[in-house]
């Protein structure tokens, strides 16, 4: 088990190193010179432009050779410094991200976990109930096949604009100041619901289908047949099948995390929800590669951490990994 985790750690370390390196390259090798952009945006009169140019080149640390920039980047990284945003100059990237992260967690965590939980249970139900299988599964397929943003836009428009039941933008009402009260919390939830729902729905279908198929496999497996032959009630067999089918779903969760980020971007854009996804889009549109770099770094760290957590959980729930029997 130690070996297993050690191996995983090694891969994570490598991944992190490589990812950060790629990440570092973003602002440096992308088209769109950030400094000239800044100057253009300030729209200063000619005489100041040169002064500003020199100033910004220094401010972004672009005045040293590339290898030095690379080393500096790592150094700064360990001090929690991700540089300065161009789009939101002179705000440090880390601050922008710090403010956005809670919103992401607020939406992503419940959406991921609840969809996973609900999807797995409903999928397990569908595996034995024909009517559910026949009704829910097609819906599930359609949901997973739906482009995130399209679903989100339809939800926003129908429930937000036409029905007017839900707000369509922001994390809480514009008229409310954040404070601790029931009213504010309700308002927060009110705004949270649609973005959450759009992510939840799309992911839910995938889990449900995956679970259903896994359960069917498990129910056909040797140990299920043995138990059946011993007259064990279906309930116990299903319980086992569910538990065992859950294991691949856990790995699936790890694999999905990267992809969920995509969903978050689309959803946050549609609902103008002030999370990282929204910032990424703006960073892309504003050529703010430093910010983009920071966001990706955070996502990478997040995904790595989550993966690692899942790995640990996996080791705990699956004795096979613990004995080093599985290669992965």
């Amino acid at each position: 088990m130690g070996r297993y985790l050690g191996r995983k750690l090694l891969i994570y370390a490598l991944t992190f190193f490589l990812a950060v390196t790629i990440d570092w390259m973003i602002p440096r090798f992308m088209p769109g010179d950030p400094v000239s952009l800044m100057i253009a945006r300030i729209g200063t009169r000619p005489e100041a432009a040169e002064v500003l140019r020199g100033y910004f080149i220094q401010a972004f640390g672009l005045d040293v050779p590339l290898w030095q920039q690379y080393l500096n980047f790592w150094k700064a990284l360990f001090q929690g410094d991700l540089g300065v945003s161009i789009w939101l100059y002179p705000q440090p990237v880390i601050k922008i991200i710090q403010r956005a992260i809670p919103y992401d967690l607020f939406i992503l965590l419940p959406a991921i976990l609840l969809s996973w939980f609900a999807g797995n249970h409903v999928g397990a139900l569908a595996a034995r109930a024909r009517w559910l299988d026949n009704t829910l599964l097609p819906v599930g397929y359609l949901l997973t096949a739906t482009p995130y943003m399209w679903l989100a836009i339809l939800l926003a428009w129908s429930l937000g604009n036409v029905a007017g039941v839900f707000p369509i933008a922001g994390a809480y009402s514009f008229s409310i100041r954040p404070h601790l009260s029931l009213r504010f919390i309700l308002d927060l939830l009110h705004h949270w619901f649609l973005p959450f729902l759009s992510l939840f729905l799309v992911m839910f279908g995938g889990w449900a289908i995956g679970m259903r198929n896994m359960i069917i496999y498990e129910m056909e497996s040797d140990y299920s047949r043995y138990l059946e032959a011993l007259g064990t009630p279906q309930k116990l067999i299903r319980k086992y099948a569910f538990r065992n089918a859950m294991l691949p779903q856990i790995t699936g969760l790890a694999l999905q995390l990267g992809g969920i980020v995509a969903g978050a971007v689309a959803t946050e854009v549609v609902f103008a929800y002030p999370g990282i996804g929204y910032i990424i889009l703006n960073a892309v549109q504003n050529q703010d590669y430093f910010l983009l770099q920071g966001c990706f770094l955070f996502i990478i760290i997040g995904v790595l951490l989550a993966n690692f957590l899942i790995d640990i959980v996996y080791v705990i729930v699956d004795p096979r990994t613990r004995l080093g029997m599985t290669g992965e």
Partner: protein, 315 residues
Amino acid sequence: MLQVENLTVYYKTIRGYVQALEKATFTLADGEIMGLAGESGCGKTTLGHSLIYLRPPMNYIGGRVVLDGQELPIWDMEKMQEFRYRHISLIPQYAMNALNPTRKIGKMIAELLESRGVSYSEILPELKRRLDLVQLTQDVLKMYPIELSGGMKQRMVMVISTLLNPSLLIADEITSALDVSTQKAVCEMLVEFRDRGFVKSTIIITHDISILYQIADSIMVMYAGQLSEKAPTEVVFQDPRHPYTRMLIGSLPKVGVRYQEERLRGIPGSPPQLLNPPPGCRFRDRCPVAFGRCTEVPPFLEISPGHSVACWRAF
């Protein structure tokens, strides 16, 4: 006491029925260990499974199974439920994979028993005794199946399957994957279980006849879905009446026999397919003594006490 009459079980496939078990009729006395032998694909597993666990694509076509005077509703998955495990139990061919890989063995047994309304704590002392008997330490209850070797798993399944003292135990190819020394140990345990009365009677399915010679009281030979011969072990070896049995016994190498000295002979030809098999005796094509009568299906008749055979030549 098991009585099987005209048990017929087919597999339903898209191209029709695979006639894997045709009118099987035999009895199994209390305390009897019966070996079921035959070529691969002749329906041994089908017979074994149909007694306990008849599920699609297996189709019950006809026949009766009476265990201890009670007819088993083998065609009804639900009704069979109460007989399974308590009265009739199984050690499957796939014993290596028969345990839930993610449950500790003890826990699994507990859950299995509780689900059948048996108290685990009450049965635990007995369980431990039996583990000792099969030379497993009690620690295995705290282990996961993956931590056991193949032979250990095999024995573990044996213990589990027989825990409720069923009248009938079906052991399907439990020795094929084992090497000789483990094979021997497992076989001896089967006998031990019978001797101690954990099970009343046992059907051992195998294609390794020399093992049957060691432990079985009687041997039943099947060929292509039909019963060929059933007789006490000695009789089968000394006085086989069915030509197939004879040829089968003849093809067994004995320790101490070398090909230079005594060249053994196999059975030429191959068995018929069971999807729309030819009428009559299915061994006809390979039988050296076949004659006109063999186009009719020979009945499985008792020709002497405890010795039944299905061959026109034998009657």
